[in-house]
Protein backbone atom coordinates (compact mmCIF):
# COMPACT_ATOMS: atom_id res chain seq x y z
CA UNK A 1 0.00 0.00 0.00
CA UNK A 2 2.88 2.33 0.85
CA UNK A 3 4.36 1.55 -2.52
CA UNK A 4 1.15 2.46 -4.30
CA UNK A 5 0.84 5.68 -2.31
CA UNK A 6 4.42 6.68 -3.17
CA UNK A 7 3.57 6.07 -6.83
CA UNK A 8 0.73 8.56 -6.58
CA UNK A 9 2.75 11.20 -4.72
CA UNK A 10 5.72 10.81 -7.07
CA UNK A 11 3.44 11.31 -10.03
CA UNK A 12 1.97 14.34 -8.29
CA UNK A 13 5.35 15.96 -7.72
CA UNK A 14 6.16 15.54 -11.41
CA UNK A 15 2.93 17.29 -12.34
CA UNK A 16 3.70 19.99 -9.81
CA UNK A 17 7.10 20.71 -11.31
CA UNK A 18 5.52 20.77 -14.76
CA UNK A 19 3.08 23.40 -13.56
CA UNK A 20 5.79 25.40 -11.80
CA UNK A 21 7.97 25.54 -14.90
CA UNK A 22 4.95 26.42 -17.04
CA UNK A 23 4.02 29.28 -14.71
CA UNK A 24 7.40 30.85 -15.40
CA UNK A 25 6.04 31.73 -18.83
CA UNK A 26 4.01 34.47 -17.16
CA UNK A 27 6.84 36.12 -15.29
CA UNK A 28 9.12 38.96 -16.23
CA UNK A 29 12.08 37.89 -18.31
CA UNK A 30 15.53 38.49 -16.92
CA UNK A 31 17.25 39.06 -20.25
CA UNK A 32 18.38 42.58 -21.09
CA UNK A 33 18.22 43.06 -24.88
CA UNK A 34 21.67 44.61 -24.80
CA UNK A 35 22.43 46.64 -27.90
CA UNK A 36 18.93 48.15 -27.87
CA UNK A 37 18.52 48.35 -24.11
CA UNK A 38 21.53 49.97 -22.51
CA UNK A 39 23.11 48.45 -19.44
CA UNK A 40 23.08 50.70 -16.39
CA UNK A 41 26.43 49.82 -14.86
CA UNK A 42 26.92 50.83 -11.21
CA UNK A 43 29.14 53.90 -10.55
CA UNK A 44 31.97 51.79 -9.17
CA UNK A 45 31.99 49.46 -12.18
CA UNK A 46 35.53 48.85 -13.39
CA UNK A 47 35.50 49.80 -17.06
CA UNK A 48 37.47 52.15 -19.30
CA UNK A 49 40.34 53.88 -17.48
CA UNK A 50 40.55 57.70 -17.45
CA UNK A 51 43.00 60.30 -16.19
CA UNK A 52 41.26 63.06 -14.24
CA UNK A 53 42.00 66.70 -13.45
CA UNK A 54 41.92 68.40 -10.07
CA UNK A 55 39.27 71.07 -9.22
CA UNK A 56 41.56 73.78 -10.60
CA UNK A 57 41.64 72.07 -13.97
CA UNK A 58 45.25 70.89 -13.78
CA UNK A 59 46.32 67.34 -14.46
CA UNK A 60 46.24 65.24 -11.30
CA UNK A 61 48.82 62.73 -12.46
CA UNK A 62 52.24 63.36 -10.95
CA UNK A 63 53.96 60.61 -12.98
CA UNK A 64 54.95 58.63 -9.88
CA UNK A 65 54.76 55.33 -11.81
CA UNK A 66 52.96 53.53 -8.95
CA UNK A 67 50.13 52.52 -11.30
CA UNK A 68 52.56 51.03 -13.79
CA UNK A 69 54.21 49.10 -10.95
CA UNK A 70 50.90 47.89 -9.55
CA UNK A 71 49.57 46.77 -12.93
CA UNK A 72 49.71 42.95 -13.00
CA UNK A 73 49.77 42.76 -16.79
CA UNK A 74 52.05 45.73 -17.36
CA UNK A 75 49.78 47.60 -19.73
CA UNK A 76 50.57 51.10 -18.43
CA UNK A 77 53.63 53.02 -19.53
CA UNK A 78 54.49 56.65 -18.86
CA UNK A 79 57.39 59.07 -18.76
CA UNK A 80 57.89 61.73 -16.11
CA UNK A 81 58.44 65.36 -17.01
CA UNK A 82 58.60 68.51 -14.90
CA UNK A 83 56.92 71.81 -15.66
CA UNK A 84 58.39 75.25 -14.97
CA UNK A 85 56.51 75.64 -11.69
CA UNK A 86 57.99 72.41 -10.31
CA UNK A 87 54.99 70.15 -10.85
CA UNK A 88 55.59 66.68 -12.18
CA UNK A 89 53.44 65.47 -15.05
CA UNK A 90 53.57 62.55 -17.49
CA UNK A 91 55.20 63.42 -20.78
CA UNK A 92 53.26 60.54 -22.28
CA UNK A 93 50.80 58.19 -20.67
CA UNK A 94 49.85 55.06 -22.53
CA UNK A 95 47.42 52.27 -21.61
CA UNK A 96 47.18 49.21 -23.81
CA UNK A 97 43.53 48.16 -23.43
CA UNK A 98 44.06 44.94 -25.32
CA UNK A 99 46.16 43.89 -22.33
CA UNK A 100 44.24 45.56 -19.51
CA UNK A 101 42.24 43.20 -17.29
CA UNK A 102 40.30 45.99 -15.52
CA UNK A 103 41.43 44.84 -12.07
CA UNK A 104 41.56 48.38 -10.66
CA UNK A 105 44.98 47.96 -9.02
CA UNK A 106 46.18 51.17 -10.68
CA UNK A 107 43.31 53.11 -9.18
CA UNK A 108 44.09 51.69 -5.73
CA UNK A 109 47.78 52.51 -6.08
CA UNK A 110 47.31 56.09 -7.28
CA UNK A 111 48.23 58.62 -4.52
CA UNK A 112 46.56 61.55 -6.31
CA UNK A 113 43.30 59.86 -7.49
CA UNK A 114 44.37 60.73 -11.02
CA UNK A 115 43.77 57.35 -12.61
CA UNK A 116 40.18 56.10 -12.28
CA UNK A 117 38.03 53.35 -13.73
CA UNK A 118 34.65 54.31 -15.21
CA UNK A 119 31.43 52.38 -15.92
CA UNK A 120 32.00 52.51 -19.70
CA UNK A 121 32.78 49.02 -21.00
CA UNK A 122 32.10 49.42 -24.73
CA UNK A 123 35.70 49.37 -25.92
CA UNK A 124 35.44 46.99 -28.86
CA UNK A 125 37.45 47.98 -31.92
CA UNK A 126 38.43 46.55 -35.28
CA UNK A 127 42.14 47.34 -34.97
CA UNK A 128 44.37 46.24 -32.15
CA UNK A 129 46.51 49.34 -32.44
CA UNK A 130 43.52 51.57 -31.79
CA UNK A 131 43.15 49.89 -28.40
CA UNK A 132 46.38 51.58 -27.29
CA UNK A 133 45.13 54.78 -25.66
CA UNK A 134 47.44 57.77 -25.41
CA UNK A 135 47.16 60.60 -22.90
CA UNK A 136 44.95 62.66 -25.20
CA UNK A 137 42.44 59.78 -25.20
CA UNK A 138 42.68 59.12 -21.47
CA UNK A 139 42.57 62.62 -20.03
CA UNK A 140 39.11 63.93 -19.19
CA UNK A 141 38.25 67.48 -18.21
CA UNK A 142 36.67 66.76 -14.82
CA UNK A 143 37.67 65.43 -11.40
CA UNK A 144 35.90 62.03 -11.77
CA UNK A 145 34.81 60.30 -8.58
CA UNK A 146 36.62 62.68 -6.17
CA UNK A 147 35.35 66.18 -6.98
CA UNK A 148 37.12 68.04 -4.13
CA UNK A 149 40.46 66.27 -3.92
CA UNK A 150 43.46 68.37 -4.86
CA UNK A 151 46.79 66.71 -4.18
CA UNK A 152 48.93 69.85 -4.22
CA UNK A 153 46.66 71.61 -1.70
CA UNK A 154 47.10 68.77 0.77
CA UNK A 155 50.60 67.51 0.22
CA UNK A 156 53.61 69.30 1.68
CA UNK A 157 55.34 69.37 -1.66
CA UNK A 158 56.46 72.85 -2.63
CA UNK A 159 55.68 74.18 -6.05
CA UNK A 160 55.90 77.72 -7.33
CA UNK A 161 53.09 79.83 -5.87
CA UNK A 162 52.67 77.37 -2.99
CA UNK A 163 55.59 77.29 -0.57
CA UNK A 164 56.04 74.64 2.08
CA UNK A 165 53.46 74.74 4.88
CA UNK A 166 50.73 76.58 3.05
CA UNK A 167 48.58 73.58 2.27
CA UNK A 168 45.32 72.69 4.01
CA UNK A 169 45.71 71.70 7.68
CA UNK A 170 49.35 72.75 7.49
CA UNK A 171 51.28 75.19 9.60
CA UNK A 172 54.25 77.10 8.20
CA UNK A 173 57.47 75.23 8.88
CA UNK A 174 59.17 76.25 12.09
CA UNK A 175 62.65 77.61 11.90
CA UNK A 176 64.20 75.28 14.48
CA UNK A 177 67.10 77.63 14.96
CA UNK A 178 64.76 80.30 16.34
CA UNK A 179 63.79 77.95 19.15
CA UNK A 180 67.30 77.97 20.54
CA UNK A 181 67.67 79.66 23.87
Amino acid sequence: MNYLWSLVTDFGTQLRSLWMVFSHGFRKRDTLQYPEQKVNAPPRYRGRIVLTRDPDGNERCVACNLCAVACPVGCISLQKAESADGRWYPEFFRINFSRCIFCGMCEEACPTTAIQLTPDFELADYKRTSLVYEKEHLLISGPGKYPDYNFYHIAGMAISGKPKGSGQNEAPPIDTKSLLP
Partner: protein, 325 residues
Protein backbone atom coordinates in the same frame (compact mmCIF):
# COMPACT_ATOMS: atom_id res chain seq x y z
CA UNK B 1 -8.00 12.05 -67.80
CA UNK B 2 -9.63 9.00 -66.35
CA UNK B 3 -11.07 9.19 -62.81
CA UNK B 4 -8.61 6.53 -61.59
CA UNK B 5 -5.65 8.60 -62.73
CA UNK B 6 -7.08 11.68 -61.05
CA UNK B 7 -7.49 9.79 -57.78
CA UNK B 8 -3.93 8.50 -58.00
CA UNK B 9 -2.53 11.95 -58.74
CA UNK B 10 -4.50 13.56 -55.92
CA UNK B 11 -3.35 10.89 -53.46
CA UNK B 12 0.28 11.27 -54.51
CA UNK B 13 0.03 15.06 -54.24
CA UNK B 14 -1.50 14.74 -50.77
CA UNK B 15 1.28 12.40 -49.72
CA UNK B 16 3.99 14.73 -50.95
CA UNK B 17 2.38 17.76 -49.29
CA UNK B 18 2.01 15.95 -45.98
CA UNK B 19 5.60 14.69 -46.15
CA UNK B 20 7.02 18.12 -46.95
CA UNK B 21 4.93 19.87 -44.33
CA UNK B 22 5.89 17.27 -41.74
CA UNK B 23 9.61 17.69 -42.43
CA UNK B 24 9.33 21.48 -42.51
CA UNK B 25 7.37 21.62 -39.28
CA UNK B 26 9.79 19.18 -37.68
CA UNK B 27 12.72 21.37 -38.66
CA UNK B 28 10.89 24.45 -37.40
CA UNK B 29 10.32 22.74 -34.09
CA UNK B 30 14.01 23.27 -33.33
CA UNK B 31 13.30 26.99 -33.20
CA UNK B 32 9.95 26.51 -31.43
CA UNK B 33 11.60 24.38 -28.79
CA UNK B 34 14.33 26.92 -28.12
CA UNK B 35 11.83 29.76 -27.87
CA UNK B 36 9.53 27.80 -25.56
CA UNK B 37 12.35 26.61 -23.32
CA UNK B 38 13.54 30.18 -23.08
CA UNK B 39 10.03 31.38 -22.33
CA UNK B 40 9.79 29.00 -19.37
CA UNK B 41 13.25 29.95 -18.16
CA UNK B 42 12.57 33.72 -18.14
CA UNK B 43 14.72 34.26 -21.23
CA UNK B 44 14.00 35.21 -24.86
CA UNK B 45 15.76 32.53 -26.88
CA UNK B 46 16.72 33.07 -30.51
CA UNK B 47 14.92 36.31 -31.47
CA UNK B 48 17.43 38.06 -33.72
CA UNK B 49 17.18 36.45 -37.17
CA UNK B 50 14.03 37.73 -38.84
CA UNK B 51 10.84 38.71 -37.01
CA UNK B 52 10.83 37.00 -33.58
CA UNK B 53 13.77 34.90 -34.75
CA UNK B 54 11.66 32.91 -37.19
CA UNK B 55 14.49 32.82 -39.72
CA UNK B 56 16.81 31.18 -37.22
CA UNK B 57 16.16 27.86 -38.93
CA UNK B 58 17.54 29.20 -42.22
CA UNK B 59 20.69 30.36 -40.48
CA UNK B 60 21.08 27.01 -38.76
CA UNK B 61 20.54 25.11 -42.00
CA UNK B 62 23.11 27.22 -43.83
CA UNK B 63 25.60 26.61 -41.06
CA UNK B 64 24.95 22.88 -41.07
CA UNK B 65 25.26 22.56 -44.84
CA UNK B 66 28.63 24.27 -44.83
CA UNK B 67 30.02 22.22 -41.98
CA UNK B 68 32.51 19.51 -42.77
CA UNK B 69 30.67 16.22 -43.08
CA UNK B 70 33.32 14.08 -41.50
CA UNK B 71 33.33 10.31 -41.39
CA UNK B 72 35.84 8.91 -38.90
CA UNK B 73 38.48 6.76 -40.64
CA UNK B 74 37.85 3.92 -38.19
CA UNK B 75 34.08 3.91 -38.76
CA UNK B 76 32.13 1.28 -40.65
CA UNK B 77 31.32 3.49 -43.60
CA UNK B 78 28.16 1.89 -45.05
CA UNK B 79 26.30 1.56 -41.75
CA UNK B 80 27.61 4.94 -40.64
CA UNK B 81 25.89 6.58 -43.62
CA UNK B 82 22.83 4.35 -43.36
CA UNK B 83 22.10 5.12 -39.70
CA UNK B 84 20.78 8.73 -40.01
CA UNK B 85 18.77 7.75 -43.09
CA UNK B 86 17.05 4.94 -41.21
CA UNK B 87 16.55 7.10 -38.16
CA UNK B 88 14.87 9.90 -40.08
CA UNK B 89 12.91 7.94 -42.65
CA UNK B 90 11.40 5.39 -40.28
CA UNK B 91 9.42 8.00 -38.35
CA UNK B 92 8.67 9.93 -41.54
CA UNK B 93 7.18 6.83 -43.17
CA UNK B 94 5.10 6.18 -40.08
CA UNK B 95 3.52 9.58 -40.60
CA UNK B 96 1.59 8.10 -43.52
CA UNK B 97 -1.07 6.55 -41.28
CA UNK B 98 -2.07 9.68 -39.37
CA UNK B 99 -5.36 11.07 -40.67
CA UNK B 100 -5.29 14.86 -40.38
CA UNK B 101 -8.86 15.47 -41.55
CA UNK B 102 -11.45 13.01 -42.94
CA UNK B 103 -10.01 13.62 -46.41
CA UNK B 104 -6.36 14.35 -45.70
CA UNK B 105 -4.22 11.29 -45.10
CA UNK B 106 -1.60 9.37 -47.04
CA UNK B 107 -2.60 5.75 -46.50
CA UNK B 108 -5.84 4.32 -45.18
CA UNK B 109 -4.25 1.09 -43.96
CA UNK B 110 -6.42 -1.52 -42.33
CA UNK B 111 -3.48 -2.51 -40.12
CA UNK B 112 -2.88 1.20 -39.31
CA UNK B 113 -1.41 1.17 -35.88
CA UNK B 114 0.55 -2.07 -36.39
CA UNK B 115 2.39 -0.33 -39.25
CA UNK B 116 3.51 2.30 -36.77
CA UNK B 117 4.85 -0.37 -34.42
CA UNK B 118 6.76 -1.96 -37.25
CA UNK B 119 8.44 1.34 -38.13
CA UNK B 120 9.07 2.21 -34.48
CA UNK B 121 10.86 -1.12 -34.25
CA UNK B 122 12.88 -0.28 -37.35
CA UNK B 123 13.78 3.14 -35.97
CA UNK B 124 15.81 1.40 -33.27
CA UNK B 125 18.14 0.21 -36.03
CA UNK B 126 19.04 3.79 -36.87
CA UNK B 127 20.36 4.34 -33.37
CA UNK B 128 21.87 0.87 -33.18
CA UNK B 129 23.75 1.30 -36.48
CA UNK B 130 24.95 4.75 -35.45
CA UNK B 131 26.42 3.48 -32.18
CA UNK B 132 27.86 0.33 -33.71
CA UNK B 133 29.47 1.88 -36.77
CA UNK B 134 31.00 4.81 -34.88
CA UNK B 135 33.47 2.46 -33.12
CA UNK B 136 33.55 4.79 -30.15
CA UNK B 137 32.72 3.86 -26.60
CA UNK B 138 30.32 6.70 -25.87
CA UNK B 139 28.37 6.11 -29.05
CA UNK B 140 28.20 2.38 -28.32
CA UNK B 141 27.05 2.95 -24.74
CA UNK B 142 24.41 5.37 -25.98
CA UNK B 143 23.07 2.99 -28.57
CA UNK B 144 23.10 0.10 -26.10
CA UNK B 145 21.00 2.13 -23.72
CA UNK B 146 18.72 3.20 -26.51
CA UNK B 147 18.18 -0.36 -27.69
CA UNK B 148 17.39 -1.66 -24.24
CA UNK B 149 15.10 1.30 -23.58
CA UNK B 150 13.25 1.08 -26.87
CA UNK B 151 12.77 -2.65 -26.64
CA UNK B 152 11.40 -2.57 -23.12
CA UNK B 153 9.18 0.43 -23.77
CA UNK B 154 7.81 -0.92 -27.03
CA UNK B 155 6.52 -3.96 -25.19
CA UNK B 156 3.96 -2.00 -23.26
CA UNK B 157 3.58 0.65 -25.93
CA UNK B 158 1.77 -1.96 -27.98
CA UNK B 159 -0.23 -3.17 -25.01
CA UNK B 160 -1.18 0.35 -23.93
CA UNK B 161 -3.27 1.02 -27.03
CA UNK B 162 -4.81 -2.43 -27.32
CA UNK B 163 -7.56 -1.07 -25.10
CA UNK B 164 -8.26 1.61 -27.71
CA UNK B 165 -8.19 -0.99 -30.46
CA UNK B 166 -10.56 -3.24 -28.51
CA UNK B 167 -13.01 -0.39 -27.91
CA UNK B 168 -12.88 0.85 -31.50
CA UNK B 169 -12.91 -2.67 -32.86
CA UNK B 170 -10.35 -1.86 -35.53
CA UNK B 171 -6.66 -1.19 -36.20
CA UNK B 172 -7.63 1.35 -38.83
CA UNK B 173 -6.80 4.89 -37.70
CA UNK B 174 -9.81 6.50 -39.38
CA UNK B 175 -12.18 4.05 -37.76
CA UNK B 176 -10.51 4.66 -34.41
CA UNK B 177 -11.12 8.38 -34.85
CA UNK B 178 -14.71 7.82 -35.89
CA UNK B 179 -15.29 5.64 -32.82
CA UNK B 180 -14.50 8.72 -30.69
CA UNK B 181 -17.37 10.82 -31.96
CA UNK B 182 -19.19 10.69 -28.62
CA UNK B 183 -16.36 10.34 -26.12
CA UNK B 184 -12.62 10.76 -26.56
CA UNK B 185 -10.68 7.64 -25.60
CA UNK B 186 -8.60 9.60 -23.10
CA UNK B 187 -11.47 9.20 -20.61
CA UNK B 188 -12.21 5.45 -20.76
CA UNK B 189 -8.56 4.63 -21.59
CA UNK B 190 -6.85 7.03 -19.19
CA UNK B 191 -4.16 4.58 -18.08
CA UNK B 192 -3.61 3.57 -21.66
CA UNK B 193 -3.05 7.25 -22.45
CA UNK B 194 -0.57 7.73 -19.61
CA UNK B 195 1.49 4.67 -20.51
CA UNK B 196 1.39 5.38 -24.23
CA UNK B 197 2.56 8.91 -23.58
CA UNK B 198 5.45 7.69 -21.42
CA UNK B 199 6.51 5.11 -23.97
CA UNK B 200 6.15 7.65 -26.77
CA UNK B 201 8.58 9.93 -24.99
CA UNK B 202 10.92 6.99 -24.48
CA UNK B 203 10.75 5.80 -28.09
CA UNK B 204 11.59 9.24 -29.47
CA UNK B 205 14.46 9.56 -26.94
CA UNK B 206 13.10 12.80 -25.60
CA UNK B 207 13.97 14.19 -22.21
CA UNK B 208 13.44 12.92 -19.49
CA UNK B 209 13.99 9.59 -21.28
CA UNK B 210 16.96 10.86 -23.31
CA UNK B 211 19.49 8.55 -21.73
CA UNK B 212 20.81 7.38 -25.14
CA UNK B 213 22.12 10.88 -25.78
CA UNK B 214 22.48 12.19 -22.23
CA UNK B 215 24.94 14.95 -22.92
CA UNK B 216 26.21 15.13 -19.37
CA UNK B 217 27.67 11.65 -19.31
CA UNK B 218 27.97 10.33 -22.89
CA UNK B 219 29.15 13.26 -24.97
CA UNK B 220 26.23 13.23 -27.37
CA UNK B 221 25.39 9.54 -27.02
CA UNK B 222 24.89 7.54 -30.19
CA UNK B 223 25.52 10.47 -32.56
CA UNK B 224 28.76 11.61 -30.92
CA UNK B 225 30.78 10.99 -34.10
CA UNK B 226 28.32 12.63 -36.48
CA UNK B 227 28.64 16.10 -37.95
CA UNK B 228 27.11 18.27 -40.61
CA UNK B 229 23.94 17.18 -42.35
CA UNK B 230 24.10 13.60 -41.02
CA UNK B 231 23.81 14.96 -37.52
CA UNK B 232 21.08 17.25 -38.83
CA UNK B 233 19.14 14.23 -40.04
CA UNK B 234 19.24 12.68 -36.56
CA UNK B 235 18.05 16.00 -35.23
CA UNK B 236 15.18 16.35 -37.68
CA UNK B 237 14.38 12.67 -37.12
CA UNK B 238 13.93 13.35 -33.43
CA UNK B 239 11.50 16.18 -34.15
CA UNK B 240 9.62 14.10 -36.71
CA UNK B 241 9.32 11.55 -33.91
CA UNK B 242 7.77 14.16 -31.62
CA UNK B 243 5.37 15.17 -34.37
CA UNK B 244 4.47 11.55 -35.03
CA UNK B 245 3.88 10.60 -31.41
CA UNK B 246 1.86 13.78 -30.86
CA UNK B 247 -0.19 12.96 -33.92
CA UNK B 248 -0.77 9.42 -32.68
CA UNK B 249 -1.79 10.66 -29.24
CA UNK B 250 -4.28 13.00 -30.88
CA UNK B 251 -5.74 10.35 -33.17
CA UNK B 252 -5.84 7.56 -30.61
CA UNK B 253 -6.87 9.37 -27.45
CA UNK B 254 -8.06 12.89 -28.23
CA UNK B 255 -10.56 12.19 -30.98
CA UNK B 256 -8.42 13.25 -33.94
CA UNK B 257 -10.20 15.93 -35.92
CA UNK B 258 -13.38 15.79 -33.84
CA UNK B 259 -14.41 18.91 -31.97
CA UNK B 260 -17.21 21.46 -31.82
CA UNK B 261 -17.51 24.62 -33.96
CA UNK B 262 -14.04 24.80 -35.52
CA UNK B 263 -13.22 22.94 -38.76
CA UNK B 264 -11.52 19.51 -38.43
CA UNK B 265 -8.12 20.73 -39.61
CA UNK B 266 -7.98 23.45 -36.96
CA UNK B 267 -8.96 21.00 -34.23
CA UNK B 268 -6.26 18.59 -35.27
CA UNK B 269 -3.63 21.33 -35.34
CA UNK B 270 -4.70 22.67 -31.94
CA UNK B 271 -4.47 19.24 -30.34
CA UNK B 272 -1.16 18.35 -31.94
CA UNK B 273 0.34 21.70 -30.89
CA UNK B 274 -0.76 21.02 -27.34
CA UNK B 275 1.12 17.73 -27.28
CA UNK B 276 4.21 19.20 -28.91
CA UNK B 277 4.18 21.88 -26.23
CA UNK B 278 3.81 19.20 -23.57
CA UNK B 279 6.84 17.34 -24.97
CA UNK B 280 8.92 20.49 -24.69
CA UNK B 281 7.55 21.27 -21.24
CA UNK B 282 8.61 17.82 -20.08
CA UNK B 283 12.12 18.59 -21.23
CA UNK B 284 12.05 21.96 -19.49
CA UNK B 285 10.78 20.62 -16.18
CA UNK B 286 11.82 17.06 -15.43
CA UNK B 287 15.27 15.72 -14.58
CA UNK B 288 16.64 12.61 -16.24
CA UNK B 289 16.13 9.40 -14.21
CA UNK B 290 18.89 6.90 -13.50
CA UNK B 291 19.05 4.03 -15.94
CA UNK B 292 17.83 1.37 -13.50
CA UNK B 293 14.96 3.67 -12.49
CA UNK B 294 13.99 4.00 -16.14
CA UNK B 295 13.98 0.24 -16.54
CA UNK B 296 12.07 -0.45 -13.34
CA UNK B 297 9.39 2.12 -14.22
CA UNK B 298 8.99 0.46 -17.58
CA UNK B 299 8.79 -3.15 -16.43
CA UNK B 300 7.39 -2.86 -12.90
CA UNK B 301 4.84 -0.05 -13.23
CA UNK B 302 3.87 0.62 -16.82
CA UNK B 303 3.72 -2.99 -18.03
CA UNK B 304 1.43 -4.23 -15.19
CA UNK B 305 -0.65 -1.08 -15.56
CA UNK B 306 -1.24 -1.72 -19.26
CA UNK B 307 -2.06 -5.37 -18.61
CA UNK B 308 -4.61 -4.48 -15.92
CA UNK B 309 -6.04 -1.79 -18.19
CA UNK B 310 -6.40 -4.23 -21.06
CA UNK B 311 -7.97 -6.85 -18.80
CA UNK B 312 -10.55 -4.39 -17.43
CA UNK B 313 -11.33 -3.03 -20.89
CA UNK B 314 -11.92 -6.52 -22.19
CA UNK B 315 -14.12 -7.38 -19.22
CA UNK B 316 -16.23 -4.25 -19.64
CA UNK B 317 -16.64 -4.80 -23.37
CA UNK B 318 -17.78 -8.38 -22.74
CA UNK B 319 -20.16 -7.24 -19.99
CA UNK B 320 -21.67 -4.59 -22.27
CA UNK B 321 -22.22 -7.20 -24.98
CA UNK B 322 -24.25 -9.24 -22.52
CA UNK B 323 -21.81 -11.52 -20.79
CA UNK B 324 -19.94 -13.36 -23.53
CA UNK B 325 -21.13 -15.90 -26.03
Amino acid sequence: MSPELTTILVTVAQGIVILLVAVLVAAYLSWVERRLLAWWQDRYGPNRVGPFGTMQLVADMLKMFFKEDWIPPFADKLTFILAPIVSMSAFMLAFAIIPITPNWFVADLNIGILYFFMLAGLAVYGVLFAGWSSVSKYALLGSLRSTAQSVSYEVFMGLSIMGVVAQAGSFNMIEIVNAQQNIWFIIPQFFGFITFFASGVAVTHRSPFDLPESEAELGAGYHTEYSGMKWGMFFVGEYVGILLVSGLLVTLFLGGWHGPLLPPFVWFMLKISFFIMLFILLRAALPRPRYDQLMSVGWKICLPLTLINLLLTGAIILWQQGGGA
